[in-house]
């Protein structure tokens, strides 16, 4: 009936491959829905992201914050009344998908990412003078395992690994003599193998000759918890995580 796969690739590897696939998919834009009700009264020449980019959400659910882009003219002043259309790979939905910029030149939409975990390349397009101007925005959606990782990271890791402080959670980052790597620090973490990350979580910093300020979690977190944490780290790393070399040789 069902057969178990014997070919094993690590989860981060799959996430990386999924990312490549998504980037490729992003190329094939769906035809924009017709918006007979909306009419542009002005045209800008540049699009900039105001807020709502680089969010991390769960698959199939709306992102927490709306996506806001601004249309500017040649002088860099905001253009109200310009029509902005949002596009994304299949599965992504925008509410609404086309917006006329408000008096401050901003177009706001709420984004629901697709059911497939990975990085989504979205784009906003406005009709400039003569040719369309587009802006690309990256959002990340987490699958079940990656989301478990993000919740665990919030509980056990981010107090030290995330330099951002909020009134609810004061960061301990600045208090540490040796600075931990934020999980988004792809420059460093991408170079570490899954085995190294596992052993540093299991046995603490000294296992890899690093700081003892990183305690061992081997008796606190389960093997699946640690896999989830690594999957999460790989999903949010910037630059994106890619497995070194190809996994399978193509014919």
């Amino acid at each position: 009936m069902m057969t178990k796969s014997t070919a094993r690739i690590t989860i981060p590897a799959s996430a990386a491959i999924a990312f490549i696939a998504l980037v490729l998919l992003a190329g094939c834009k769906r035809a924009a829905p017709a918006n007979p009700g909306l009419k542009a009264t002005a045209q800008g020449s540049a699009l900039v992201e105001s807020s709502g980019g680089h969010q991390v959400g769960a698959t199939g659910t709306p992102l927490k914050d709306p996506l806001v882009v601004q249309v500017n003219d040649d002088q860099g002043t905001a253009v109200p009344g310009a029509l902005v259309e949002f596009h994304g790979p299949s599965g992504v939905s925008f509410d609404p998908a086309a917006v006329v910029t408000d008096p401050s030149g901003q177009a706001t939409t709420s984004v629901t990412l697709g059911a497939i975990a990975g990085r989504y390349q979205l784009s906003a397009v406005t009709l400039g003078k003569g040719k369309p101007v587009s802006l690309s925005i990256v959002e990340t959606s987490l699958g079940y395992q990656q989301r478990v990782g993000s919740i665990l990271a919030d509980k056990y890791c981010n107090r030290c690994h995330d330099p951002e402080s909020s009134p609810q959670r004061v960061s301990n980052y600045d208090n540490l003599e040796v600075k931990p790597h934020p999980f988004t620090d792809g420059g460093t973490l991408n170079k570490m193998s899954d085995a190294d990350l596992t052993s540093i979580i299991l046995h603490g910093g000294p296992a890899l000759n690093r700081s003892a300020l990183m305690p061992p979690y081997g008796n606190t977190l389960s093997a699946s918890d640690i896999k989830a944490l690594i999957a999460y780290t790989r999903a949010v790393s910037d630059p994106p995580f890619q497995l070194p070399g190809t996994v399978y040789e193509h014919k």
């Binding site: 057969t3 696939a21 709306p62 497939i116 699958g143 301990n172 208090n175 300020l213 996994v247």
Partner: protein
């Protein structure tokens, strides 16, 4: 007519004119008839997906192993115990193939990592849809009687909730939705029975309206009823969209039926002094940590503070000063089960706080409301409305009985047949969109719908929908072995005079004891094994901060010395952990050398200073409690047991279990116990 007849007879002649020809033709027809079934299979949708799958894997590096695992034909996962007959894997061929996680789209992409194997649970348990179907449309979109379209991904956590009645780490949306079912009072009107037979109980605390006229005015009740969120943006009271006349009549009835409560109307004993320190109010409010439970909207419009008690942004518009003074003196006189503690304020402090709170007044709020005295008919109409709207399902109201089963039971709402549902025109015919629409705007479903409109954000509505969709027939039908029960609250109550003190101080609102209570503050079930008597006495007298980075703090209750002693003794005697030996000593070698060894272990081998502060001048660790005076606070037995296995003493605590040897744990305990002092930072000697 004639030519047709002629044509037919000539055709008959041509086909069946002689026996040999007729035999040939009949054979041909039979052959074609026999070919129908294989042709149907060949041109079937699933067959074309299997061909596409083979084409997809053909060029891949691991084509050989993928092809070896490919089995042609209809696949089926059959789990009689769960009532699962899923043929989804006939087309979704790559779900278990880890190398196919790079495929951009279903049906061939690998399933993301989840805790349950596909062949043990099937697909429809989580995703919905028709498992038996072998066409895309029927499997995913069918809405014929007894069938259900596939569940949108945003509610996927409802699948987990069918078996897992407890809160899971990986399902925040489901957990939030379940909390909302009890916190927003849904279960006051809608009965929800869990699969194990227990009822879902409300956790909110709708105030009794039996003495409402002591507390506030009819004008305020009227404005509140018209739009509760206009008074307090964070209230869970829904909007009933009442007409002016209806709101006026209800307010008239509530005031007319309210009885006076002794003490609520007593004139204030002390008037605020003319030269009172203007900062006294805010600082008393701050010192008492009112903000741990009560929120206030700040100038930027953000609601800041806890949500255990009502928002106080415009409390001056609502509460009469006499009532407020009586309430602050002892809230349990007015409401015996309130989560608010009795602070034991001095009369002067009460006057200060009343003046401070009464100043929280919005002069625009309700300024246009001038109600005329109500006639008996209007009052009677108000009562009729209250009965019709089911107000007494949540609130205690004199002369109105609490209605039983006021609204439809929701125990299996997730499995309600779509044919029994009246959808609005233009609405997607799925259970999820029906629930969302019903919560979002109940009155769109007709004027006779009694359900009020709750002020919920889109993500709250999604969470509530997820929790409701988890209430399925299957959740009741699955075998007990698969069910993960929720941890029920115990009904533990401490006894005697100390028990009354615990009740008056509302310790259970924040702390947990023996499986009952809040989660704002630490679980105190084993506090007696943990702390030293002297420290506890001085902490209860004047709580100081143990965790510098926390906003919420333990308030000071102005306990008398005898009450303080009684509570301390009770905690130390009763809340003892059976696993901790009170006679534990760190020996052998409780000397300077061991302490020094412990200090080295603390700073180098285990680097505890990452999270804890021992030397307030040099250490900066912010995460755990400050340990500068831990030797005067904790017992050596607790420190040792904690170091060996923190999670055994407090499940889920973030301090990792470092698997310390007995020797290291003893040395560290010696070091920590050598840190004597008067308490944490800011403590007075």
């Amino acid at each position: 007519m004639q030519p047709i007849k002629k044509y037919l007879s000539s055709a008959w002649q041509a086909l069946f004119g002689d026996p040999v020809r007729a035999f040939g033709i009949v054979s041909l027809i039979l052959l074609l008839a026999l070919a129908i079934a294989p042709a149907k299979e060949h041109f079937s949708q699933w067959h074309s997906y299997q061909r596409k799958y083979l084409a997809l894997i053909h060029d891949r590096g691991d084509a050989v192993s993928l092809r070896r695992r490919f089995v042609p034909g209809i696949h089926q996962i059959w789990l009689p115990e769960l009532g699962v007959v899923d043929r989804c894997t006939t087309c979704h061929l790559g779900l278990n193939e880890s190398s196919l996680s790079d495929v951009g789209q279903q049906p061939f992409r690998k399933h993301p990592v989840v805790p349950h194997p596909l062949d043990g649970f099937g697909c429809v348990i989580c995703h919905g849809g028709q498992g038996q179907a072998t066409t895309v449309a029927e499997a995913h979109h069918s809405e014929r009687a007894g069938e259900d379209p596939i569940l949108p991904m945003r509610y996927i956590e409802s699948g987990c909730g069918q078996c897992h009645q407890n809160a899971l780490l990986g399902t925040p949306q489901l957990n939030l939705g379940r909390t909302m079912l009890t916190r927003y009072g849904c279960v006051h009107c809608h009965a929800i029975t869990r699969p194990d037979g227990s009822k879902l109980l409300a956790t909110d605390h709708p105030p009794s309206l039996a003495h409402i006229a002591d507390k506030t005015t009819r004008d305020w009740i009227y404005s509140w009823l018209k739009d509760p969120q206009a008074f307090s943006a964070s209230t869970t009271m829904p909007n009933y969209k009442l007409s002016d006349a209806d709101a006026s009549d209800i307010s008239a009835f509530l005031v007319s039926t309210s009885t006076t409560h002794a003490g609520d109307t007593a004139a204030l004993e002390t008037k605020p002094a003319a030269n009172a320190d203007p900062s006294a109010g805010p600082s008393l409010y701050g010192e008492s940590f009112c903000a741990s439970c009560h929120a206030v909207q700040n100038a930027a419009g953000n609601i800041v503070g806890g949500d255990l008690g009502p928002e106080l942004t415009r409390i001056g518009n609502k509460a009469k000063p006499e009532w407020l003074a009586a309430w602050l003196e002892n809230p349990r006189t007015y409401d015996a089960t309130t989560p608010m503690p009795q602070y034991r304020f001095t009369p002067q402090q009460i006057t200060t706080l009343v003046a401070f709170l009464e100043a929280k007044t919005d002069s625009d709020y309700g300024s246009g409301v001038h109600l005329d005295a109500a006639s008996p008919q209007q009052i009677a109409h108000g009562r009729k409305l209250i009965v019709e709207l089911g107000c007494a399902a949540c609130h205690e109201i004199n002369g109105v009985q609490k209605p039983e089963n006021f609204a439809p039971e929701l125990s299996t709402i997730g499995s309600k047949p779509l044919t029994q549902i009246v959808f609005l025109p233009g609405m997607e015919h799925t259970m999820s969109s029906y629930i969302v629409a019903k919560i979002h705007e109940p009155h769109a479903f007709g004027p006779s719908v009694k359900m009020p409109q709750f002020a919920l954000t889109a993500s709250q509505t999604d969470a509530l929908t997820t929790a409701l969709l988890a209430l399925t027939n299957r959740s009741h039908a699955i075998p007990d072995s698969l069910r993960v029960a929720a941890t029920p609250e115990t009904n533990y109550r401490p006894a005697g005079h100390a028990g009354k003190l615990v009740n008056d101080l509302a310790c259970f609102s924040c702390h947990r004891f023996n499986g009952r209570g809040g989660d704002m503050a630490p679980d105190l079930s084993w506090e007696g094994s943990s702390v030293q008597s002297q420290w506890l006495t001085s902490f209860l007298h004047n709580p100081n901060t143990l965790r510098p980075s926390l906003i919420r703090r333990m308030p000071r209750f102005n306990l008398s010395d005898s009450d303080n002693k009684e509570l301390t003794d009770y905690i130390l005697t009763v809340y003892q952990s059976p696993s901790i030996d009170p006679d534990f000593t760190v020996t052998p070698g409780n000397d300077a050398a061991t302490v020094e060894h412990g200090r080295q272990l603390f700073y180098s081998k285990y680097a505890c200073q990452a999270c804890h502060i021992v030397d307030t001048k040099t250490d900066k660790g912010y995460i755990g409690p400050t340990l500068a005076a831990v030797g005067s606070r904790l017992t050596p037995a607790w420190v040792y047991a904690w170091l060996r296995d923190p999670q055994a003493l407090r499940p889920g605590t973030t301090e990792p279990n470092q698997n310390l040897s007995d020797e290291d744990a003893r040395a560290l305990t010696s070091f920590l116990m050598s840190l004597k002092g008067s308490g944490g930072r800011g403590a007075k000697p």
